[in-house]
Structure formats: C-alpha cells, structure tokens
Symmetry: C2
Subunit: 329 residues, 2 copies
C-alpha cells in the first residue's frame, strides 16, 4: 500500500520542483513557464511502458533517469538547453513507496547533472503496466532550433559516441540474462539502462550543423528521417561507424564477428547518440565543440542526391542488411 497521490507528490516530487518558481511547489494543477528574453521553447514528449521500454525488475532510479534522458536527448538534438519537464505517471499496485522514493531519487540525480527541473505532472492508477510520459522543454534562441529538415547534398554525416551498444546489451539480456551482462559487460548494461544525452554538445552545434536528430529508432532509420525531411539521400560507410570495445569483444567472441550483426548496429535503437549533418567546412569547429564537451564524434558518411540510405563497405560495394546478417553486392 502506498500513500495517496497528494502525499506522494508532497513527499517525493515537490522537492524536485523547488528550483522552478513557476511550478508553485506543485500545489496547483498547472505551472507557468516563460522562456528567457529572445528565446523560445523546444518541447518534446517521450513515453515509456513497462515490459516494452524497460523491464519490470529494472532499478526504479534507472527507469526514471532513462525516460528523462530520452527527452533530454531530443532537446540536445534541437540544440536546446534543458529548462523544465512535466511527468505523467500511471502506476499499478506493484509500485510501493520504496519504488517511488527510488524513482524520485533517480530524477533528483539527473536534474542536478543536466540542469533541469520538474515543473508539474499528473499521477493516475492503472491496472496495466507502469506507463511514464515526460514532456520536456528546453530553451533555444528564436528561430535557431535545429531540425531534421536542413541536410544538403555533400554534407558530412556525423555521430557522437559509439553505436549499437544498447541493442547488443538488450540482445545479451534476452539471451543470457541480466546477471551475466552485469558481470561480463557492465559497460553495455549501463549504456542500455542509462543512455547519456549529449546535452552539453547539442547547443554548441547550433549554427554549425544543417540537420540533427538523436538515434532512438536506429542509425539507418533515424538517418532516413533526416533524408525524408530534407529531400535527400545518404551513403553510410559501414566500417567508419564507431563501435565500443565491448561490442567488438562481444561480437568477436560470442557471435560471428561484426558483419554478422550488422543489423543490430545499423537498426538497433536506444543509443541516444546525436546524428547530424554539416558542410565539410564546419568540421574543425564541430571537432572543437566535441572536445569542449568531452564527447567523441565521427564522420560516417555523406548526404547525396536522391533518397534513402545506402550502407557501403570499405570497397564501396553496397551492403544490404536483412535480419540475420548481410549481403554484399
């Protein structure tokens, strides 16, 4: 049995809103939000469902941080600085006060790390899986939010971090159990449970990049969204895609090498890395912004005329990715 909605809010969530005056201590049904002078609000929504986007026995603090970080990643991809968020929670009977306190503690940690504050929300009960939805707002100078639609022919395609960590972690969990993953591949488990939004880098890329998104649906799918919105195609160089040491080790040891798992690298989601396009002339400034943000960046391809995303091998031949492996043309 957990306390009533009002008690839970006062005890665990009102402290998370203390730094945001417009929230009025969560004592009202609404918050007041005003962007700084000359700015507008980039606003994004991400929902997560127990059993779909997180596992029932995931630690509550990482569940909280993951749903918040998915939103922070969208803000970073727009070049926006985190401001505040609204949390909608549908909780079932298996959620007790300990769960709520750990969930709120996870939010508190990430609020401090990323400089964002709770501003409001809603709590309901559900007979089904725990369902969380976050609406987050970030500030960006008027008219400067980065969109998916600005990619131009010959622009370079860039990514941050390493690709495929989350998808390989999920594959490991499903096939070997969480315990083995936490013992043998703790880095990958962390990457799945706690993606790192590129909140410092995103705003630094405003003015340097032509289009940006984060990788949530998968590298090829998300690049496809940029291409569709920009009216272009793209060519990806498979061997330029940055992989973590852990993924290389796992794929070399347990599977038949990187190529056999190309689909997991190209189509796996949930890495929450930034994917962006930029004229080649921007490269030095992009690399400088990345250094300042302590984030690794890599050029992995080019925007081309036409449509769709082609993935090419070292010799320039097209790789067709299908479930279970790849084919070389």
């Amino acid at each position: 049995m957990r306390p009533g909605e009002f008690d839970l809010i006062a005890r665990y969530f009102a402290p998370l809103a203390a730094g945001f005056p417009g929230a009025a201590g969560l004592k009202d049904d609404l918050a007041v939000v005003r962007p700084s002078s000359g700015c507008e609000l980039a606003t994004t929504v991400d929902a997560m469902v127990e059993g779909v986007h997180f596992l029932s026995d995931d630690p509550p603090d990482t569940i909280a941080r993951k749903v918040l970080r998915a939103n922070l990643s969208d803000l970073a991809a727009a070049g926006a600085r985190p401001l505040c968020y609204f949390l909608s929670m549908s909780l079932n009977n298996s959620v007790d006060e300990v769960w709520v306190s750990q969930f709120a503690a996870g939010l508190a940690d990430d609020q401090k790390e990323f400089g964002i504050s709770l501003a409001g929300g809603d709590t309901t009960s559900t007979p089904g899986p725990v369902t969380l939805s976050v609406t987050a707002m970030g500030e960006v100078e008027q008219g400067r939010a980065v969109r998916r639609s600005g990619a131009g022919t010959n622009d370079d395609v860039w990514v941050t971090g390493t690709i495929g960590d989350a998808a390989n972690a999920l594959h490991l969990i499903e096939n070997y159990g969480v315990r083995k993953v936490s013992e043998e591949y703790p880095f990958l488990l962390d990457r799945y449970r706690l993606p790192v939004p590129r909140s410092a880098l995103g705003p630094r890329l405003v003015g340097l990049v032509s289009a940006m998104t984060d990788i949530s649906d998968g590298l090829v799918a998300d690049l496809g969204h940029i291409c569709a919105a920009s009216g272009t195609g793209a060519e990806l160089s498979f061997y330029d895609i940055p992989l973590s040491d852990d993924v290389r080790e796992f794929l070399g040891k347990e599977e038949k090498g990187v190529e056999s798992c190309a689909i997991r690298i190209l189509s796996g989601g949930d890495d929450y890395e930034l994917l962006f396009t930029a004229p080649t002339a921007s490269a030095p400034l992009i690399e400088k912004a990345a250094r300042l943000s302590a984030v690794r960046v890599a050029r992995i391809g080019n925007i081309v005329s036409g449509d769709g995303v082609r993935v090419v091998s070292a010799d320039g031949a097209e790789i067709e990715v299908a479930a279970g492996g790849w084919r070389h043309f």
Copy 2:
C-alpha cells in the same frame, strides 16, 4: 492490424498540427513554442487510462475530446487562453485504424471549438490498457495566472454550471447500463462523456477572482485544495449548490431524494466546472462575464478563517457527509 506509427501520424495527426507552425508538420521529434509578447505559458498535464477514466466501449471521439477537455478545463481555471497541446498515446492491439481515425476526428472537432492546436507527441505500444496523456499550454499575461492560493476570508465561493452530473451519470451507468442512461438521461451521459471546459469564461475572470480551480476531484475536495493552498477554511451552503433538472428528477425518482445522495454531489468528480473565490464587490462583474460567456454561475458559500470545508444546511446546521447518506447536527 493498424499502420505503423509514422503512417498514422502522417495520416491522422499531422493535419491536426497544420495550424501550428512550430510543430513543423510533426516531422520532427519536437515542436517550438513561443508565447505572445507579454505573455507566459500556463502548462498542465492530464492522463487517462482505459478502464479507470474511460470505458473500453466509449466512442473513441469522446475519449479524445474528454482527455483534451480535462486539460482545457485546467487552462480555463488558470485564466489562460488555449494555445497548443502535446499528446502521448500508449495503444494496444485492440486499437485499429478505425479507432484512430475516430479518435483524431474528435480532436479535430474540439480543436475547432476551443481554438487549440496539436503541436507534438509520442506514440508507443502497450500490452495493457490504452493510456493517454495530454500536456496543454495556454497563454496568460505575465504574472496574471490564477492560482489556488489566493482565497481571502469573507470571499464568496462560486461555481459554474451544475454539480454532480458526471458522478450521477457514472452511478447510473454502473447500476443500469449505458443503454438505459442514453435513453432516459441523455443529458447526464453527455455530461459524463463530454464535460464542457469553461474556456471562454476563465480568461474573463482574471483580475476578478482571488483563487480558482476546476472540479475534477469533487466539489468538497477541490475547495479543500483551495483552502489548504490559501490557509483558510470554507463554509458551503448545501441547498445553494446548483443541480441540473436531470439530477433532481433522477434522485427524486430512483433514490430517496437529493439528501440521500449528498455524497455523490459533494464528492463526485469529473464535472469540470470552475470553482472560484472572489470578494463580494466583484460579484456584478463576475455575473457580467458569465453572461458574456453564456455560462451559469452561482454563489454557494464563503471563505472563513480556520481550515477545512464545512457543509451547512438551510438552517445553518452542519451536515456531515459519509458514504451512504448524511447526518444533521
């Protein structure tokens, strides 16, 4: 089988965002929102879960309108003018394309009626009940949003419309089935399925009222929230609470009169009427604003020193409401 997320968005939801340039046709993961000069954004969240807040066989268009209207009602209670909303949907396998198209048609109708536009959202699948969460934003002049916390001793307590319609409708549905209710009490069924947010009146009350909320938890509970936030008590005059003709007829015919069902009137939620407090000197201007908005208003009590909400009978004696009836002291 329903089409994929991107197809659904393009077909049914992108048209709902056509009037809001910051949504960029829903082709991005985020929208850009900027309040008009001199204004700030009142922002509210309301979630609804199948089987908890709506019934599985409720028409999809009324489900859509109800979740949107719950948010519009919160905006009205802040004195804010509707601007845009974000929709987070967790849909299960029983939702097909027809359901989605009817759901979107309901949103389209209400967008037109209340002057609000879809700006963004998220769609996920769920193995559980359909879960909907709306984050809505309205504009209000800087520093003028009406809060729960401003009630002062001797202020009058006011409500709009009639009280207890939704709770009596739900009682009827649970005991006699939807069919009998739709045949004999169509007005009450409508009041339950389609509450009317007081969007025209709310902004007109800015500057006239000292505190305001909407009735979603129940008249006494929501007045209790105003009292707690304002550091006051309140006294309600039971026989001044406005009831609809349908509720009077039903309670006279099927039950043992209005008094026997006092709890349903005082504690039933979901009416989405405005509940506000104001100095007596404001009464003529409040009544004028109500006439201009074609909304009925009634004075039902007073703010007093102390705390808590007392309900009194015509002779001034306290009524204690408990499940199953009332007691007269």
